[in-house]
Amino acid sequence: MTDTLSTAVSHELDGNALLDAYRTMRTIRAFEERVHAEFATGEIPGFVHLYAGEEASATGVCVHLDDRDAIASTHRGHGHCIAKGVDVKAMMAEIYGRRTGSCHGKGGSMHIADLSKGMLGANGIVGGGPPLICGTALAAKQKGTGGVGVAFFGDGASNQGTTLEALNLASVWQLPAIFVAENNGYAEATSSTWSVAADNIADRAAGFGMPGVIVDGFDFFAVHEAAAEAIQRAREGGGPTLIEVKFTRYFGHFEGDQQTYRADEVANAREHLDCLKRFRTRVTETGQVEAAQLDAVDAQVTDLIDAAVEEAKAAPKPTAADLETDVYIEY
């Protein structure tokens, strides 16, 4: 007896959805690698924290979200922004400090936001986002939109009181909130095996009366599946979930970080674990997507990032007239 795969499993993606997910991951990777290269030339000012290596997390979660849903991000926020639909060219312009940027050059890399897309901002404060997400989830619940709030935070933020308070409040109020702990192994240079007592962030969920799971952060399908379950549960009134995503970031904590605290894990991850490589292998082997289709996406993404950098460099900077505007709505 030969069975076929005619019966689609719930949550499984069709070819177009797979291509979209790939495009998002590829766009994040290309964006970050380009920012890395451009930063080295000295043209990008300030502090920049890159998300390369972690693409499967933002993508695997945000692919389930729509405009009802809000996310809060971290200082390493470019990937979350792209996955939630923030305009890539405006993001690049923002990183260059241009008036055409997402925030008119007033926010920079650590504060890119687009509330119209439910992107509540990258956040320069470690642990700043989780309480805010309790609020967006509360608003969704009060208004009955079916929306959810997703707080992305790192292993560093997992030790912040704000995060632990938010986990508790989300459980007390049974909020449609998902807490995605992106454990890349290091808070700046400090290993999470040292800083996170009991080592697994997911273990803490039980103490707050919510499910806590660990997924392979290099595997888009693993994140996608766990997020699907958590988000559906939240939308249906089942309450919050903590998902710990484990992976490695490919670049330093910030651009310029000499990374003396790390051994050779990045090379190994790039070679054997990389989310884009694994995704490509898998979907082409199953025949769901042709390699040529993925190649075409790669080319389009390259063009987009080239154009984004070119336009950002050519765009005007904000002027003195912009300095004191936008502090208040009404003065």
Partner: protein
Amino acid sequence: MTSDTVTVGVVANPASGRDIRRLVAQASVFPTAEKANMVQRLLTAFASVGVTRALLSTDLGGISAAVLRASRARRPGRDGAWPDVVFCADDAITGTALDTTNAVRRMVADGARLIVCLGGDGTARVAAAACGDVPLLALSTGTNNAFPRMREATVAGLAGGLVATGAVAAETGTRRATVLHVGTADRGETALVDVCASRSRHIGSRALWHPETLTELFCTFAEPDGIGLSSVAGQLCPSPRDEPDGVALTLAPPEHARWVVHAPIAPGLVVPVGVDAWRPLPVGEPVEIGLRGGVIAVDGERELELTGSETATVRLCAEGPRCVDVSAVLAEASANGLLCTENHVAQRKERQR
């Protein structure tokens, strides 16, 4: 190391018991702290029956760190004795199943007479593949534990220790398990409990909880009180652990199936599973799985992703691990008074009175 040295190995999987079944069902949570406590309870039991040296796995999940801290904080005279504790730190930690394999191999090479593994079915499977003929004691700290038993670690440690020292003979205290080998042309896996074919395309989050995707199920044994996929067979066509035959089932959507079994396929998840046919699975018979593409799960976790045209073959094999039978060991200990001694001084005083 003297000839009196009795060495055992303990491998604890830091990742077990944390998968998506805590989200899609209410699978148990086994925090790192409890796993570390179990290791310490084992050490106390080992020392009390004469084990002198314990090799412990290392991990980045906090278990070995907690045991190391505890070993440094022990108060002589107040805390019970432990064997000499040696951490296996020679292999780089990968954060994958390879860590379990490496640790067990090191322990076996270093003379361990018992391997204890803390984890779920997945961990036991990896340890079983690496421990050769050394007795295996699998303790449950995972999710879907059809193979390892839920046993108090002190009690299990006494039994394991008695086998390791030879106080209870291996022939009496251990049982040979059967295993299922499943493989494609170039890849293979070994299952202690079950092999299942799923129409799911990806390994994803590994666990299986959508019974409608399952097409075929093979079990080494199937107990009526089992948990996991083997419970389907356990209710419909049980197959005892101590008999060599296994069982093979053809699954189907419940609405079309000949039988519908309401089975606890995961903790907190009792779902209707459709079965069209079943038969005993004799040792040695190769069975080609009908599914093209899809995923092969072993012991409840999706492990092998098949490409579009690839097929896999399953075979039941009698040469599985030698597993410590805790009840049998301790019954033997009781029969022979292994944990009892006579207090001659007190008896003499009693007589004098």
